[in-house]
């Protein structure tokens, strides 16, 4: 606990409460206060703090960290507390009957031979060995689970392979790719996370890849930072596809067809605030002729969170956060809300199915990689 306090720099907290002021969970749940939790962690009894329900409510969106002038690493604290709580047998409330958590643990167990490449479009070029690997993410499973609410995360994956091939990259794709482990890490289940990471790195090495490209912000952040942190230097260069595409766009290597639409772009927490990739998606969208990009009131580092994390503690508070985001999106007058994260897409589309709010919140949501891939000129 002491180690966690010092690594999270909790002792620097000035008790100013600005974290609580910007926290989306706190906005809708008065019982949750980042400031109070930091206080409890520093001053309270360790076993008592680990029993608290509130440690599972944090979305790890980073809004507090961006605001904190003292440099407190709040998300780090949450991770530490959840790890400790997990050892005591505590967990958040899993959504969807624990389906996602079961799936992740199944993936960590070994003995799995998935059949997950069916989404690849005809004509997609991939190779068994390559210096670049495209790490897809859990999109095939998402689309199977959430097809009934209009989720199409695989259209992003298809856009990605189209873009990669257009950039002259013929990537390897793991036929038995495991979940990156982000949610296990954020559920305090470090052991399962480690297993997933080790399995993935082992499989990636077999392809000879030195560079891994991802579209999922959580996967990207996890492979880039957390894998090295927990497994040591993997020797892999991890990039987000939008970084490659933006570079090519700036160099004039990509041409797009006209797509005359007013759009707004949502910065996912793990891509925006946490990885500071704000400019690349905008560079790309502005390069598409006819696209009118309008920003939401809260964007870039102040972007709103999509309201749910790690498939747990999803409830009324999540819904209100999603409603806030969707209202801001609609207020821009945009016809399409462009997201860069498959989970944001799922959570926002789910919110739109609310019986009472649905009509007010309905807006077309599309994945950026799907839009950009589609817009490519011949």
């Amino acid at each position: 606990m002491k180690k966690m306090i010092s690594e999270s720099r909790l002792n620097l907290c000035l008790d100013c409460g600005k974290c609580t002021a910007v926290c989306p969970v706190s906005r809708y749940d008065a019982r949750y206060s980042p400031r109070m939790l930091v206080n409890d962690a520093v001053r309270g009894d360790e076993s008592e703090v680990l029993q608290k329900e509130s440690i599972w409510a944090c979305l790890a969106c980073g809004a507090c960290e961006v605001t904190c002038q003292s440099g407190v690493h709040y998300s780090e604290m949450i991770r530490g507390l959840r790890g400790g709580a997990h050892e005591l047998g505590k967990a958040g409330h899993p959504a969807h009957g624990g389906a996602m958590q079961s799936l992740m643990r199944i993936m960590a167990g070994g003995g799995m031979q998935q059949d997950r490449l069916g989404w690849l479009p005809k004509g997609a070029k991939t190779a068994a060995t390559s210096d670049t690997l495209f790490f897809v993410g859990c999109q095939p499973y998402f689309d199977a689970l959430f097809a009934d609410i209009g989720v199409r995360t695989l259209s992003g994956s298809r856009g990605a392979i189209t873009l990669l091939n257009r950039l002259g990259i013929v990537p390897a794709i793991l036929p038995n790719e495991r979940c990156c482990g982000h949610d296990m890490l954020w559920s305090g289940d470090i052991a399962t996370f480690r297993k997933l990471a080790e399995l993935n790195v082992e499989e990636i090495r077999k392809t000879g890849a030195r560079r891994v490209v991802l579209t999922c912000p959580e996967g990207f952040q996890t492979l880039k930072h957390e894998y090295a942190r927990y497994l040591g230097d993997t020797g892999l260069e991890v990039v987000h596809l939008l970084q490659l595409v933006a570079e090519a766009v700036s160099a004039g290597q990509l041409r797009f067809r006209r797509f005359a639409t007013r759009v707004t772009y949502h910065d996912p927490c793990r891509l925006g605030r946490i990885s500071r990739i704000y400019e690349e998606p905008r560079t790309i969208l502005r390069a598409i002729p006819g696209v009118e990009l309008v920003e939401m009131k809260h964007h870039r580092s102040t972007a709103l969170c999509c309201g749910t994390q790690a498939w747990m503690n999803c409830g009324a508070v999540s819904k209100q956060i999603q409603a806030e985001l969707l209202r801001e999106a609609k207020a821009t007058g945009a016809e399409v809300l462009i997201t860069a994260c498959p989970k944001c897409q799922i959570h926002l589309k789910c919110a739109m199915h609310d019986d009472r709010l649905g009509r007010e919140l309905g807006i077309e949501i599309r994945d950026i990689t799907a839009v950009v891939g589609r817009a490519l000129a011949e």
Partner: protein, 161 residues
């Protein structure tokens, strides 16, 4: 958990059975003394519609080789819409099981007419035979969770409650 000591593979099958029509089939099979084997361990639920994808995945995570869903026919569904919900879910479950390499064949949704002990017994035996033929779940040896499946199989395979 130890298939290694026994050359005969004894499948571990979880059978979610709805309290109403399907369960009356089980009871009738007992009354008629129609054996249906001890392979399927039944979990009685109020309605098959409440058996979520998560529950089925959890069964496989814990080492099930097969999952059988026994419900009523739509015209006999106690809650009206329950079996319809279960059918929708089972399509989703099948897609996931195929992706995961477990295979949709290890899952079956069966409509069991109320009170038909004979049909019930044959449905259960048929699924158990299918799983036996398919062999252990590909996840079997890898499951990190140690679960005691409990109970002893009586000689002759008849389930005695």
């Amino acid at each position: 958990m130890s298939e290694a000591t026994n050359t005969q593979f004894e499948p571990r099958v979880v059978g979610f059975i709805c309290n109403w029509g399907a369960y009356s089939g089980l009871e009738m099979a007992g009354v008629m003394r129609k054996p249906y084997g001890a392979t399927v361990r039944f979990v009685r639920v109020r309605c098959l519609g409440r058996v979520s994808t998560g529950l089925v995945l959890r069964a496989f995570e814990l080492g099930a080789d097969g999952v059988l869903l026994l419900g009523c026919r739509s015209e006999e569904c106690h809650y009206g819409f329950g079996i319809g919900r279960a059918k929708q879910s089972s399509t989703q479950m099948a897609a996931l099981l195929n992706l995961a390499g477990i295979g949709a064949l290890r899952l079956s949704l069966v409509e069991s007419p109320a009170g038909d002990g004979m049909l019930f017994a044959s449905q259960v035996k048929a699924f158990a035979a299918r799983i036996k033929k398919l062999g252990p779940s590909p996840l079997g040896s890898g499951s990190p969770v140690e679960v005691s499946w409990g109970g002893e199989l009586l000689p002759g395979g008849d389930q005695r409650v």
